[in-house]
Structure formats: structure tokens, C-alpha cells
Symmetry: C2
Subunit: 231 residues, 2 copies
DNA sequence: CCTTACAATTGATATTTATCAAGACACTGT
DNA sequence: ACAGTGTCTTGATAAATATCAATTGTAAGG
């Protein structure tokens, strides 16, 4: 850990309000490391040794079984991942790889658990973080069980529009990953985009242009309890 | 709350190790209530007022969107549900109804949050419970994204076999709910059972008889990281 | 006891989604 | 610049899953 990284780290939400001693203990054995794209950080089934926090870049969480692979989530700064495995001292349920060059803070599991037990501010922050993650997965699960693939895509486009505050949208990662994340094949994602053409969705590479948001929303029928990240 | 219920409640895992004051505070405004089957306890979108704990019976968590409905999980004693909403002071993401006559402990959200802030043993218990729930949903999500419907059914049957320690299995609830929980229609569940007939799966009403567990397991390819509830 | 309602199954069909194959395109590293 | 690699798209086809309709069986309520 380079000393000049510390002030930036200290500002992270998960460390807000915790004592200097706690922060020191957490940082003592931690690493803040920069990884190139496509670097596997975690493999599912391994014991959870470190709590990972994406500080910069983007990390893909994925799972494998029976020769199949699926993107479970994309993690952006500043969020931790696989906190539950740390708290339960269990194995990772998902694998993680960088999607682009990323800076990742790695805090030893034992430190996390110890400070959790001794610093109420930290345990509070951890529980909020964990709750957010939990609700995120529940929403994803509802998304998958209650919608068709085209509906999922339409709602995802609306989410990007919301986030980027623009009717001209840039897809944040490859369509292949987007497809997997949305629970479909790349071929089907292509066709889903075509299906949305009548609703004013124009695709050019990784740029999406929306010309009739109202119609698109009417089709997508977004729900706060699935799509709203702040709820 | 009837006084003679208290000792039983006190033994629950989520109260293990917490102080008498904390326990008293939690119980003071709590209810332990018996509900008939098919009673709606929670509606998604409502503010999270109470932490619910299933003490006896069985509760179905389900979600609705766009005219569709899907069973998200079945909750058995002794587990809480929708803890994350309580901790975040947010709205429920799922609805809940009793599946059979059930006893449910209802603890006011404000008490939960207050005791969480003041009693480390309780915050520890809450975080373990929350982590378990989180990992449960992740496994469900993997199940849905990485397997076909017949594979999901096969693995579910193996799980019941494990739990009931018997090759003669009793389905714990209606096939309609099972189908929805597994992410398929009732019609398809019927057909999926037929597909499994060559693997020694015989169905008679809500009784399943397995005559070739080895072949079934070979087909199902169960994975610890999806099917093992203790991992 | 009858009636009603609904779960469950089955068949026929439609829709959705995946797979396979091929070609266009873009990016990377030498 | 160019070969090589992998993404993306499109078409043809196959597989998985849903829908619709009809029937049986079963359990609850009057």
C-alpha cells in the first residue's frame, strides 16, 4: 500500500465514521493493486481470504457450472464484492475478473471480521453494504424470472439512459458480456436490439440512440422494485 | 406476546449471546402471531415496518410485475425474511404469504436497528443471517442462469432426498408453487417429471420415489456452490 | 350429498430462445 | 501493413419453454 493512496481510501463510504485504530488495522495488511484487463481475481470455490473493493475500473462477477458460464454482475467503484463470503468465512460463490484495467483494494478477511467485531461504525457500514448487495441480487432475480429477454434489454437501455443522462448511450462493456448478464446469447441480444427498433432504438457499434423514449418505456414497463438502483 | 412463548424465542439463533436488555427491548414491541394459510403478510413496495421470523409453518416469498407472478423462495423455521429492507429502512422487494398455518414473530424495524447499533452480539447475528440470505439468492440465481428446467428439477429432487433422508420423498408444497419456484409453468413441471422417469423418478401425487439415485445424480450434476445449503 | 373451484395432467400448438454456420468487421500485436 | 483473433451480426434450424384447451381428480363449502 502506497502512503499517498491512503487519504483517497479513507474517504470511501465503507470506512466512513470508523476509528483511526480500526482504519489502521484494516489497512496494515491490505493491498491496493492495479490489475490489467481480463485478470482473474477470484475463483469460485476458493476460501474467501480477502474482501475486494473496486476503487477504479470495472470487475465482472461470473459463475460456472457444467461447462456453462454466466455473467452475474458488473461491479463499479466504489463497491465491495463477495462480502458475504468474508463474513461467513466461507468459499466464494462467484468468480471475478477485471473487465478493464482496475485498481482493487484487498483487505484480509481476518481483519475485516475483527474490526467488524470491535468497531460499531464499521459493522454498520458493512451491513448496509451487504444489504445493498442482497437487494441487488433479488432485483436481478426478479428481472430474470418476471421478464422476457427483450424486456430485460429494454429496461437495461432505460437504466443506462438514466445513468448517462443522455438519449445517446454508450454501452459500458462488450455486447457478449451484456448478453450473458441479461441471461441470453449474443445472437439473441442482436435480435433483441432489432426487435426494439420500432421503439426508436438505433444501434451502431456500442452507441445506442433513442428517438422515442416514451414508446420504449411503454414497452419496457420499468418497475422501481426491479430497476431503481436507489430503492 | 404471551409470556410463555418467550423462552422458546430466546433460544433462536438470531438472539444467541445478546444481552437481556437487548432481548427485552426487541420483545417489548413484538408480536408472535399465528396466521392461517394463504394470508398475505407483506406486500412488495410497502415500507419495511417489521422484521418477520418464521417460527412455525412455512411462508412463501413471491414477486409480481407486469401481471406476472413468481415464487422467489420458501421460508422455513427458523429464518427471518426481508432483513435487508429493515436494515436499509427501505421498502420490501418481495411479498410474503403463509403457505400453511404459521407462527410468525414480528419485531419492529426501529427496535431491530436500535439493538443492532447497541449490541455487538446482535449485529453479528444479523450479519450472519443476512449473509446466508444473500448467498441463498446468489445460488438461486446461478441455478436459474446455468441450468435448464429439467436440471433444476432433478437437483431439487436430490435436495429433498438429502433433507428427508429417504428415497421416498414427499413434496413439501403444491406442484404449482414448486413450478414457479423453479422458474417454469406447472405444465412444464409435469413434463419435466416425465423426462426424469428414465432416471428412476416415479411420481404419485406429492410422493416421489427414486429407484436409481446414481443415474439421477449423474444427470443432475449437483454442485456444492449451488445446491449445498450449508456452504 | 352435491356443487364448485382449483390443482394436475395431457395433447396440440405457438413462442421464445439456443445452436450452428458463415461472413463482416474491428482490434491487436508484430 | 497485415495476419490473426475474436466480436458481432444474420440466416437457417433445432430445442426449450409457454400457451391454450380439454379432462380428470380432489378437496372445501354449503
Amino acid at each position: 500500500m502506497r502512503p499517498d493512496d491512503l487519504p483517497q481510501i479513507r474517504e470511501l463510504n465503507i470506512f466512513k465514521g470508523i476509528s483511526e485504530e480500526s482504519f489502521d488495522e484494516l489497512m496494515r495488511a491490505s493491498f491496493l493493486q492495479t490489475f490489467p484487463a481480463q485478470m482473474e481475481l477470484i475463483e469460485e470455490g476458493e476460501p474467501a481470504d480477502f474482501l475486494h473493493v473496486v476503487v477504479e475500473g470495472c470487475v465482472e462477477l461470473f459463475a460456472q457450472s457444467n461447462g456453462r458460464e454466466s455473467t452475474m454482475a458488473m461491479v463499479y467503484p466504489v463497491s465491495s464484492f463477495i462480502l458475504a463470503a468474508i463474513m461467513k468465512d466461507a468459499v466464494y460463490l462467484m468468480s471475478a475478473r477485471t473487465n478493464k484495467k482496475s485498481r482493487v483494494l484487498m483487505i484480509p478477511a481476518v481483519s475485516v471480521r475483527h474490526v467488524f467485531d470491535t468497531d460499531p461504525a464499521f459493522s454498520k457500514a458493512m451491513v448496509i453494504e451487504l444489504s445493498s448487495c442482497y437487494r441487488g441480487v433479488v432485483k436481478e432475480h426478479k428481472n430474470l424470472k418476471l421478464r422476457t429477454s427483450v424486456e430485460r434489454l429494454a429496461n437495461r437501455i432505460l437504466r443506462y439512459r438514466q445513468k448517462q443522462q443522455n438519449d445517446q448511450i454508450t454501452l459500458p462493456y462488450d455486447k457478449k458480456i451484456l448478453a450473458s448478464n441479461l441471461g441470453m446469447t449474443p445472437e439473441n441480444l442482436s435480435r433483441a436490439f432489432n426487435t426494439l427498433k420500432p421503439y426508436g432504438v438505433k444501434v451502431e457499434g456500442n452507441k445506442i440512440t433513442l428517438s422515442d423514449v416514451e414508446q420504449l418505456a411503454k414497452f419496457a414497463k420499468p418497475s422501481k422494485l426491479i430497476d431503481d438502483q436507489s430503492v
